[in-house]
């Protein structure tokens, strides 16, 4: 699997490259800013681009903008945006335009090989990925959600993190039918009447959780 890495801090760029190549990925290139990243993607056509949200010149949201352009011009290349910000706003901005093959993880996840490689793999399979800390923070803040059972709450969290039905089955050791039933109940209880198909449901759940 081919990845490219964009981060203006060389220490992190090189560290992530090292970890990923150790884990068996092919690191097809490294970039220090958004422009270099875009030309890298153009030339190397990687499966996933790992992008720091803050890059030169303004250090605000260059990474998000670059991710958006990659998803627009190279639909087969997924993006994984790394950020220090916990708020769901940036994550939702990423998914609003292109709700597949995109992920938003807290930056320190790069040191967790399992999480990082799992996210990359899911992105190449077409899923989206939202950092579990962001989701659990949203959920914790709300307390009990619309009378959901413990299991339903778990399913809701996994949906918000971007897992597909199959992924949820694997994680909770449930049958597909059971998972589907849970999801149907959840949407009924949350009064989201039209159960959205996979690609829109992450956003739907996140905005529900966000609007207190």
């Amino acid at each position: 699997m081919r990845v490219v890495i964009a981060d203006d801090a060389a220490l992190i760029r090189e560290g992530v490259a090292r970890i990923l190549s150790d884990a068996g990925f092919e690191v097809a290139g490294k970039a220090g800013d958004a422009e270099a990243l875009l030309s890298l993607v153009e030339r190397r056509r990687p499966d996933v681009a790992i992008v720091d949200i803050k890059m030169p010149p303004t250090h605000t949201d260059e990474g998000l903008v670059a991710a958006d352009r990659i998803r627009q011009h190279h639909p087969s290349t997924g993006v994984l945006v790394l950020s220090q910000y916990l708020d769901a706003r940036y994550a939702m901005r990423l998914l609003e335009q292109h709700p597949e093959r995109a992920g938003y993880l807290l930056k320190e996840r790069v040191s967790d090989v399992g999480v990082l490689t799992d996210a990359i793999r899911r992105i190449t399979e077409g899923e989206c990925v939202i950092d579990p800390t962001i989701v659990s923070r949203l959920l914790d803040r709300r307390g009990p959600v619309g009378g959901l059972s413990e299991r339903e709450r778990e399913v809701l969290a996994l949906m918000a993190e971007g897992h597909s039905n199959a992924g949820i089955c694997r994680r909770l050791f449930l049958s597909p039918k059971t998972v589907e039933a849970h999801i149907r109940h959840i949407f009924q209880k949350l009064e989201i009447h039209e159960a959205p198909e996979y690609h829109r449901r992450v956003l739907a759940v996140l905005s529900y959780l966000r609007s207190a």
Partner: protein, 601 residues
């Protein structure tokens, strides 16, 4: 505050000698003016009687038009001259106009049919005296002084040409009996009869006469072009004078052939035009007096208006109305500086531009304020000064207020600079944490991960300590993230107030219900003040609701919490300063906090 009647507050005039001479002048005015008026009426009627008695030798003749021209021009000049003298006692224009009016009657007395030698002689000598007097008055109008050397030379030239060369000198050599006029009264100033010299004086007098008439005409027109706006006060006066001069020149030109000034049918027609031009001049001066009277009446009203303490800027408005100059600016000097400010304390530039004049208001040697006004107001002598004297107390009072307001503005500017500097520092710190410490810790985590992957998996102790270190670092990263967000949420500068409050509601320990937000961007200081009001007000509460709205140029932030943290009031002091620096207001009512910040979205 009460201001005495006009003129009583004139600190420069309380010198005793000046007061005494003013008193004398007033006495002269009281008895002199009726006497002069009586003289003019009598003299005019006598003149008319002479002209009717001997119509052949007169200009007016027996016709009604002639009579109207005779009395109209003379009496108008005298009347306006007296009125002007009454309003402006020390001004030469009044006496000049009176003299011109009386002199207007003189040519009729050079009539051979006149039976008094004194009258006849006066008629001979003063035949042309009216012209230099009237034009002198017009050129000296309205100040009473001839403003340039050219004016003074021109007027002197005219006096000598009219009174000496065409008056005294020919009279001195003219013997009426000797030249065939048997019924003529005797010439009292006759020195020696010499008809040849008489003829020479007249011919040269006429030639030079055309020269001084032209010179005065040019001077009048020159001043006319320098007077801004044809509707000004001096323009009609100068225009009438110029027409009068043109008619005289025409008369002189026509008389050149005969070699002397006479009263042929043509001359009589010219004389009527002269009368019309002089009456017009008198009317022009009269009209200006009327306008001035109106202006003075409004200045008098000004005193009453300003007696009630006016609102800021009220003094300017009252003065602008009193002087009929909407463009008037009133600038107050900030004591100890050369800066000027308006009533609200905002800086003003004081300078005389085209058509604009600056009149200072002084207390002793110190300029208190400056008026920038339409330069044409200077055509009405003393008017601006009177208005300023009338408004003096109010102006000085407002100057003090303006000074305080200017200081307040300075203070506010410096407060907001302080807040701005503090915000910049917060943002810089946030960015430094983000780009520095947080990055380094992530780098460290990566290094630990690489180290771990190289450890022998059997060496459980080492693996565990490396993992513990990594966990510690993750906690540090969480703490740092909270600190950075608390310092300054980057979403606030990136996406604005609404996004920042939404993010706050998402990350805050306190559940926040958002009842309404205003989308759109505001000035950074306004957004910061509103955001930190919410952030500080909700801190420590169990639940909170937030409503942000925009109303009448104010951004209003309402935060309602279930309970008020006892330390919150102390924390909100900083927020109150922040809001106050923007000229806003923070009010705290138990569990309710409201910030109102002026905003221009």
């Amino acid at each position: 505050m009460r201001v005495g009647p006009l003129g009583t507050r004139r600190p420069l005039c309380d010198d005793r000698r000046v007061a005494a001479s003013a008193l004398r002048r007033r006495e002269i005015g009281r008895f002199g003016r009726p006497a002069v008026a009586l003289l003019a009426v009598t003299f005019g009627l006598l003149t008319l009687a002479k002209a009717r008695h001997d119509p052949d030798g007169s200009f007016g003749g027996t016709s009604a038009v002639g009579g109207i021209a005779e009395l109209g021009a003379g009496w108008c000049l005298v009347a306006v001259g007296l009125l002007f003298g009454h309003r402006h006692p020390r001004n030469l224009v009044g006496p000049l106009l009176v003299a011109a009016g009386l002199a207007w009657f003189l040519p009729e007395w050079s009539n051979p049919g006149v039976d008094t030698s004194i009258g006849f002689t006066a008629g001979l000598v003063g035949f042309l005296a009216c012209a230099p007097l009237a034009v002198h008055a017009a050129l000296a109008y309205p100040t009473g002084r001839l403003s340039s050397a050219a004016d003074r030379a021109g007027v002197a030239f005219a006096y000598s040409g009219a009174v000496v060369l065409l008056g005294v000198l020919p009279a001195a050599v003219f013997d009426p009996g000797g030249s065939g006029c048997l019924q003529c009264p005797s010439n009292l100033v006759l020195v020696e009869s010499d008809f040849g010299l008489y003829d020479t004086f007249n011919r040269w007098g006429l030639r030079l006469g055309l020269a001084w008439l032209a010179a005065l005409g040019v001077l009048s027109l020159w001043r006319l072009t320098r007077t801004r706006g044809m509707l000004g006060v001096t323009a009609p006066v100068l225009l009438s004078a110029a027409v009068y001069l043109a008619v005289l020149a025409w008369y002189f030109q026509h008389s050149l052939a005969a070699g002397l000034l006479s009263n042929t049918a043509f001359d009589r027609r010219a004389w009527r035009y002269e009368a019309a031009a002089l009456a017009a001049l008198a009317f022009a001066v009269g009209l200006a007096l009327l306008r001035e009277r109106r202006a003075r009446a409004s200045v008098a009203r000004l005193v009453v208006e300003l007696a009630d303490s006016p609102r800021p800027g009220g003094v300017r408005d009252a003065l602008a109305a009193a002087l009929h100059d909407e463009t008037l600016e009133l600038a107050y000097r900030r004591p100890g500086t050369d800066e000027f400010v308006d009533a609200d304390g905002l800086a003003l530039v004081v300078e005389a531009g085209p058509g604009r004049a600056v009149t200072p208001l002084r207390r002793g040697d110190v300029t208190v304020a400056a008026f920038v006004h339409d330069a044409r107001l200077r055509d009405q002598p003393g008017l601006v000064g009177e208005a300023i004297s009338a408004a003096r107390l109010a102006v000085e009072n407002e100057q003090l207020q303006a000074k305080v307001r200017a200081q307040l503005l300075d203070l506010r500017a410096s407060r907001s600079r302080i807040v701005e500097a503090a915000d910049d520092a917060r943002r810089r710190l946030e960015r430094d944490l983000h780009d520095g410490a947080q990055q380094r810790i992530v780098g460290l985590l990566l290094a630990l991960q690489l180290l771990r992957s190289r450890l022998d998996p059997e060496d459980a102790n080492r693996v565990r300590s490396v993992e513990r270190a990594a966990d510690e670092l993750r906690c540090a990263l969480d703490d740092l993230r909270d600190v950075a967000h608390g310092l300054y949420p980057s979403v606030l500068s990136d996406e604005g107030l609404a996004a920042a409050i939404e993010t706050l509601s998402e990350l805050s320990e306190t559940p926040i219900r958002i009842e309404g937000l205003v989308e759109g961007r505001f000035a950074p200081l306004v957004e910061n003040a509103a955001y930190f009001t919410v952030a500080e007000a909700v801190r420590g509460a169990a639940t909170a609701s937030v409503l942000v709205r925009q109303e009448n140029g104010l951004l209003i932030v309402d935060v309602e919490t279930d309970s008020a943290d006892p330390e919150r009031a102390a924390r909100l002091v900083e927020i109150a300063d922040r809001v106050g620096a923007l000229d806003g207001r923070l009010t705290i009512h138990d569990t309710r906090v409201r910030a109102e910040v002026p905003c221009a979205s």
